[in-house]
């Protein structure tokens, strides 16, 4: 870890690409994508999906890599500093504070979710849930582990809490080790392993055929049909297009300030054109090829279409933590494959969560001159305090509220701000030159127009749609049980406290910069 204000650097280009791809490849690739595809027109969903990949996903990737490397040139590894150099306005750094808020808030609850995958990997290997043979029994197993129900296996939250602590320490240990020795090393091990695990599982599932000859309609082929058979009539439905845009947006982990932080450790002439595209392609491989070949096909093969649809409607967690464990009890070597499945999700999770910690660590290092040890320690204290609420109040919906405002709506707001700042305020020509500087290939000129006009427009429409469709009902607590409402408000208060804390730190940092500049001028 370099000292004296010198910034760290990536050890290799492939290490950086794997780290950013690891940030993008998360639980959503294996759980959210197949559900979205199956619910929104199957193969036809891929038409808007690929269109948005081209006009939203890839441009946002390049924009974030560009902003990040540009900020790194001025020794800024987080969005407040990066926005400040893009827009010479007092407000710019406060807009950037949103990038710190989003990544830190998601990190708080994501660490806990990640720990479930580690726990279920152990429970699979030890066959702990292997007597829970119905969906209700398996759901009860999951809920009792999360402290949401009383079950035979868990009498308290202690196992979940201990595994949360293990996950927490692993995350912060990687962050403490630094960019090259921590994050890059983790990505070089975890991402290839994750791909191998997914490949093994996909091959195993594809060779299952028709598990029950008495029900020939329930087969892996039918599962693939469920995802891929196109229903072209649905293409006239705007909600399908918005679902595709949302999926592209979530899957690439854009709009949270993490890619910027990673890209800030590049040298000014390092390539970002090819690296950004490779990152996006790796994520798509994990999602469209591997993600679509595991959870849904195997669920259809064992439960049939109707029950799989119920699992899909109940959400990604039901699919991952209820239906998959039931299937592992039925297939040969199920304990091994179950363990592999949850380890794969754990690796997908940890490579994403360390990325969420980096923006705040970089902010404290770059803007306050803190050592990495102190910066990681400070973040760890805040996350440790906040995660207590998530663990103990999860059953009341505390986590859902954080996930909506920071992990859903906040992302599109931040992405819109950064796109407008980079392509309009900083200037499209300068931004274009920045993104092509040192590139291993020249970005096709059409992306210039896409980034300037189409990407912000799509983001704006997405933001307005989500505001009307989900933000207002969420804000009004529609559908929330009366006894849970205080916890939803508690979640909001926690987020407001975090936001105020971040804004004050940003203000303090720039106050320090001004004083420093005045002393130097004297």
């Amino acid at each position: 870890m370099p000292g004296n204000g010198e910034r760290e650097q990536w050890g290799s280009k492939i290490g950086l690409i794997l780290a950013v791809a690891g940030n993008a490849v998360g639980l959503g690739n294996f759980l959210r994508f197949p559900v979205q595809a199956a619910q929104n027109g199957g193969g036809a969903f891929m038409i808007p999906y690929f269109i948005f990949f081209l006009i939203l996903g890839i441009p946002l990737m390049w924009i974030e890599w560009g902003i990040g490397r540009h900020g790194g040139r001025f020794k800024h590894g987080s969005a407040p500093g990066m926005f400040d150099v893009l827009w010479k306005n007092k407000l710019a750094k406060y807009f950037g504070a949103l990038g710190l808020f989003i990544s830190m808030t998601i990190l708080i609850y994501y660490t806990y979710i990640e720990s479930w995958t580690l726990g279920f990997s152990i429970f699979s290997a030890s066959k702990l849930y292997f007597n829970e043979t119905t969906a209700d029994a398996m759901r009860n197993f999951l809920y009792s582990y999360q402290g949401r129900a009383v079950g035979d296996h868990f009498s308290s939250l202690l196992p979940a809490y201990l595994l949360m602590l293990v996950t927490f320490f692993l995350n912060f240990w990687v962050l403490y080790k630094g960019i090259s020795k921590g994050i890059e090393k983790l990505a070089k091990i975890a991402l290839p392993l994750l791909m191998i695990f997914a490949l093994i599982l996909a091959i195993r599932i594809m060779t299952l055929g028709t598990p029950d000859p008495l029900h020939p309609e329930n087969s892996v082929g039918a599962g693939f049909g469920f995802i891929w058979n196109p229903n072209l009539t649905l293409l006239s439905n705007p909600s399908i297009w918005l679902a595709a845009a949302g999926q592209i947006f979530f899957t690439l982990s854009v709009g949270m300030g993490t890619i910027h932080a990673y890209a800030s450790y590049l040298k000014p002439k390092d390539d970002i054109a090819l690296s950004g595209l490779t990152t996006a392609a790796t994520n798509e491989f994990a999602e469209v090829v591997l993600g679509a070949a595991i959870a849904i096909p195997v669920a259809v093969a064992y439960f049939g279409l109707n029950e799989t649809q119920l699992f899909a409607k109940a959400g990604a967690f039901d699919l991952g933590f209820v239906s998959m464990p039931l299937i592992f009890q039925k297939i040969p070597l199920g304990a091994f494959f179950g363990s592999l499945w949850f380890l794969l999700l754990f690796f997908a999770g940890i490579t994403s969560s360390v990325a969420m910690g980096q923006p705040v660590v970089a902010f404290l290092e770059d803007e306050f001159g803190m050592s990495r040890k102190k910066a990681v320690g400070a973040l760890a204290v805040v996350v440790m305090i906040a995660v207590q609420f998530v663990v103990f109040f999860q059953k009341y919906g505390f986590l859902n509220e954080m996930d909506y405002w920071a992990g859903t709506f906040g992302l599109v707001v931040f992405a819109l701000i950064e796109t407008v700042l980079f392509m309009w305020v900083f200037g499209a020509d300068k931004a274009w030159a920045e993104m092509n500087e040192g590139g291993d290939f020249r970005i096709p000129k059409i992306f210039y127009y896409l980034m300037k006009f189409v990407t912000p427009l799509v983001l704006f429409v997405l933001m307005i749609w989500w505001f009307i469709d989900t933000a207002i009902p969420t804000l009004l607590l529609n559908g929330v049980a009366d006894q849970d409402k205080p916890y939803y408000w508690g979640s909001r208060i926690l987020m407001v406290v975090l936001a105020i804390l971040i804004l004050l730190f940003v203000k303090k940092a720039w106050g320090n910069h001004t004083k420093k500049n005045e002393i130097q001028a004297e």
Binding site: K13, G43, G225, N229, L274, A281
Partner: protein, 37 residues
């Protein structure tokens, strides 16, 4: 119902595009790494 002809077409095109793009990108990255070293 298994994969229909339309389903096969969409699957093959989607997987083909994604796999080709990934292989192309990594080939170029590894090539440029090799040239630099």
């Amino acid at each position: 119902m298994g994969l229909t002809t339309g389903g096969w077409i969409f699957l093959i095109i989607a997987w083909g595009c994604v796999i080709s793009l990934t292989v192309y990108c990594f080939t170029r990255v590894l090539k440029s790494e090799k040239e630099r070293s």
